[in-house]
Amino acid sequence: MLSHSTADHEATQRPVLSVIVPFYNEEESIGPLYDAIVAAVAPLQVPFEMVFVDDGSKDGTLARGVQLAQRDSRVRMVKFRRNYGQTPAMAAGIEHARGDILVTMDGDLQNDPADIEQFLAKIAEGYDIVVGWRHRRQDKLITRKIPSKIANWLITRVTGVPITDNGCSLKAFRAAVIKSIPLYSEMHRFIPAMAWIAGPRIAEIRVRHHARQFGRSKYGLSRIYKVLIDLMVIKTIASFTARPLMWFGLLALMPLLLGLCAMGFGLVPAIAFGAHASLPLVGSGMIFVAAALFLLVGGVLGELVYRTGDVQQHRFAQLTMTASRKQLAP
């Protein structure tokens, strides 16, 4: 599959801009969205392509996408074998996109392709990642907007990436930056936070947001729990990946101090005054000290994992350091 797609990468002219849209059961939306993207981007005089990812839709999404691809060589349809979810769909779109600038958006017509122009302008200014902010969001208040507000506040507090609206899919990336960032599980909400490990210049712009025209929303309240766990993982990974030993060392500090204190309290009177040493106290101390040791060993293991892995800090640094600032004609 992969070799096939790289083969026809060579065949056609390389576009500058790739618009990536994941679709899951959006048969009514795919046609109008295609029209809107073409209407918005074609006047910009930028060679572009559209990468549509069919995330295992059960309806006619794929058939309509194939029709579009037949008519227009700028459409590239990536078909998943089954439904995998939004993050894998985004990741696949990013993998198959050939442009220098990638724009991602939702397939449900809630984002407006007319905003792409602003994103390109921001990228041309030198930003690596431009994030949309749906400042007049057209969604249900209780089930969508309020949880999203809380999540965004939390994400900003924890990751320190000052973004108002992490849930907005309309984003633009310099391809070299986003292609180097591991994107898995349900990380699409945290792309800016994950990207932080590469030290990109992030900008935020206001975008238009439309109410859903067709189909049903694919989200509910249940995702909050997962957001919390993912958030913690990202925080620890993004801030400590390069130094697992240090991270585990910090984790080990607490039990070590606690253990030493407990042992001291138990043993000092026994040694100094020949009193009876308390077994539970000394025992607990030993347990905590042992735990600290275990964590330190875990940290060493972490160093090993990181060293043999394919995510290397210096590569990220080089990436943003040497990012070419291609000026686009407005």
Partner: protein, 338 residues
Amino acid sequence: MNPSTAPSRISIIVPVGTRQSAAADLYADYKAALLSRGASVEFIFVLDGPQPAFERELERLAAAGEALTVIGLTRSFGEATALMVGFEHASGDVLVTLPAYSQIAPEGINALIDALEQSDLAVSHRHPRRGGWFEALRRRAFHTLLASLARVRFNDLGCSARAMHRKVLEEIPLYGDQQRFLPLLAERQGFRVREIAVPPSSLRAPSDQYRPRAYTRGLLDIFNVFFLVRFTKRPLRFFGMIGVALCSLGVLELLYLVFERLALNRSLADRPALLLGSLFVVLGLQVFALGLLGELIIFAHAGGIKDYQVDRVIHFPAAANEPAPTQASHTARPVAVS
């Protein structure tokens, strides 16, 4: 089966473990069933560990002019490994794995291969099953438990007669005893899996006993699958749950002890409960740290781990004379843009 889409070549892989029937009878049965297809068939026997009697019989068959490949492993590596070794030597587009003892009626093989027209993997479900009520109950419990964990229901994972397209084994590396769970793994990988009811063999299978050890292994297998299908990508979701539960249990106990010490003036240092609380806290911390280590592994190797399987990329390159990138839009009606 439609002759126009008949597979060009079928590879039969038979991993031979300790449970085995007479090689000559087995081979004759399988061959007779496949003869009617007219397709070219190759037989690959993988001896999982030394099986002198079986090997001698196969040699006798080979000497009699039967075309078969025999691969001998120096020790027993497990059925899944034997299967993968056989797969490496297989040249067919369609692979059929068959047990080394009479498990299903040989005619069932054809039903399995036929089912591949609408699916990537066809697994057999022996029906009607023989055996006592206790065995039936045990099987039902095992499969129900698995179904609830993996969210896909299969009824007879113990039956190793399966037919598949080559790509299934190319994408799913098996090891140890995982061949039983191939349908679950394939389903998860996005392959179309079908279960075909197949009549069981009329012959008596050799020593089909379930000793306590087999039960323990079955339970471990379930745990294994639980991990493989649910948490491989997110270790912290699993480890974190256990770790936080243990740790908070310990912290609660310690807090209670401290409360008793401060408010009720009960001595703290002499109570064994202190040990228990510390143990819980430490255990929770360690499990949690393991989960984080797992996340680190996933993150550090994320480039090599694919979260998705692309079926195909549909793209029609522009005709040579057409200026592709600046082609005018075909449709004049843009969506309402405010």
